[in-house]
Symmetry: C2
Subunit: 359 residues, 2 copies
């Protein structure tokens, strides 16, 4: 749409894994307006300075040049959602080069992982899978009395960012009602908005989906949130000293006691970090039946040792921290880059600008 | 809301399976305004005439009284979506008693079954399940290169009734675009509407979700529909002479050839009847890679014999005709009954009236 002439950027893409031919050709097509160099290396093995010096745009997970090799860089785009792993790097401290992140691209995959795990639990998929392996056409009674729908259920989402919003969007479509929880109050329409990158056709840009919003950083606020009769609790909080083990025995008991259903107790989904949950308390709540199940993409520690009791907890579904992965990861991140190359040329603010340095 | 005084109806509920105490107490609560008799029998074992004669409202799957025992009946509500199995019954031929069906209640469970099977396939759930059984924390590469999202995909829905509409609703929330196919043209806003019962918070009441509508009953129309670059095809057609084996080798080849993705070929979901598909052709299309997978809740025949080659087809997910089952089945059907008891008292048209006799 813009009429501004864009000079051909020299984009350096630093990766840790080989690309499939399909993904690579998709990327080359997407960035056809730029001169693209794909450089494969390993974490901890630096990129040669002369490679950095040629680039005007750097796309990277964790590799950054020395200051003296960054003189041509106009933009750094990180392939991760945050930059916690790089905050002490001189490039970030200097703050000369605008930086954008890939925040927002995890909404669809992690929401799909979440919904998949809910439905696998509520619709008895493991029975279907084992029945198929046995080539059996079994009695239908366990499905009739065991299966239940998400329609009509209540989901509480702790942390209403891009991932929580896409979970909310699908939940609403399933016929559920959504309760949002954020650290800071979101009283105004402006504060409810998602101002980061949103994958087209997904999310909750204006924050209109939740039936109610709640906030706080103390245990009391979270406990009030848990006492609303939720059927699902989704943990999508960042890990901070305040959120470490923020969900423990008391919280699970409260959640369970306020459940509106007498027979289907609340289901926990953790897509944040294992340490946000008191894992021993979680195991106990599953064993006692306070919780009907849990889907965990994250554990403490990771990898979870083979002899860890969490594997034995009833109705737990564990995946090895993969909910955000998939072949769309890199192409979507480069969609943000492409928008930002255009914005930089137009002198507009960057999408997903890091630390207010994007202008 | 109505101010009309309702006389206490004597509701007879004929069932083939014992109720769980939880479901039964929910039902008794729901129908607290009526005098409820629950009568358990088996298919083919008649209900005694004196039981029928007392009832003013009959709720049944397949049991109907003789005409002479139906004199007090003001309403018959069937627990099935259709009445094909009862069309020759004298009660239906006589047409005196208003009849309503449970059409519409299958939207949430069958849509949830569908979305579950899509996500299980696209997000590699079987690997997660087997990994958990083995207590393994495996290499993430298969997830990164194998997983893909539904966001951005195109789904074609053959048969846009209550089930197709709820699949459409969730698909849209996932970021997909929806193509609807119906037998008759739906050119006007009125004709696009779903006029039957809709589970609250679900469906597509006004037919606003599809990006385009298509129609026809001939192979040519269906083939045009299949040539639109669909990633998913959902079969939700009634089985008729015209729809028998309506999807065969040519249709699968066409669907595959027009696929927009070069690497993820179309995925088939059949929630209709096994005979709508040429099953041998389906097996071949899966074996040749024309289709990336199939989720089948229905097969031909049922039960599918243990030595049937469909079990061996690559990337097939088979369940034993259970997608509509679950503990919400009966309570939801009785929601329709409750609305209709009120409507009957108010002299209003019934919801889900059978054969225009509901007025």
């Amino acid at each position: 749409m813009g009429s501004v002439e864009i000079s051909k950027e020299r984009v350096l893409l630093v990766l840790h894994q080989p690309l499939s031919p399909e993904i690579e050709s998709g990327i080359r097509e997407k960035l056809a307006d730029s001169e693209l160099t794909i450089y494969e290396t390993e974490l901890g093995v630096p990129v040669p300075p002369e490679i950095y010096r040629k680039a005007t745009v750097l796309v990277t997970f964790a590799h950054l040049p020395e200051i003296q090799d960054s003189q041509n860089l106009k933009l750094i785009h990180t392939l991760s959602a945050g930059l916690d792993h790089l905050t002490h790097n001189p490039i970030l401290k200097e703050g000369r080069i605008p930086i954008s992140t890939s925040s927002g691209i995890h909404g669809p995959p992690i929401a799909e992982w979440t919904i998949m795990n809910w439905l696998v639990s509520s619709r008895n998929y493991d029975r279907q899978y084992e029945g198929q392996k046995a080539r059996a056409w079994p009695d239908k009674t366990p499905y009739m009395v065991g299966n239940h729908d998400q329609a009509g259920k209540k989901v509480g989402i702790l942390g209403y960012g891009s991932i929580g919003r896409q979970i909310a969007r699908v939940s609403q479509a399933l016929g559920m009602s959504v309760y949002a929880y954020t650290a800071s109050p979101r009283k105004t329409p402006e504060s409810k908005r998602d101002t980061g990158y949103i994958v087209p056709g997904t999310g909750d840009a204006d924050g209109s989906i939740p039936v109610s919003w709640h906030h706080g950083t103390d245990k009391g606020s979270i406990r009030s949130f848990l006492a609303q009769g939720l059927d699902h609790l989704v943990i999508s909080l960042p890990l901070t000293p305040q959120t470490t083990k923020v969900l423990g025995a008391k919280e699970f008991a409260l959640l369970s006691a306020s459940s509106t259903s007498q027979t289907i107790k609340p289901f926990i989904t953790n897509i944040s970090r294992g340490k946000v949950v008191d894992q021993d308390a979680l195991i106990e709540a599953l064993e006692s039946g306070q919780l009907s199940g849990a889907a965990l993409d994250v554990t403490d520690p990771e990898p979870l040792p083979a002899d860890h009791p969490l594997w034995d907890a009833p109705n737990v579904q564990i995946s090895p921290h993969v909910s955000g992965l998939g072949r769309e990861y890199l192409p979507r991140s480069l969609d943000i880059l492409k928008l930002n190359i255009q914005r930089l040329a137009n002198g507009e603010p960057l999408i997903n600008a890091y630390g207010g340095k994007g202008y």
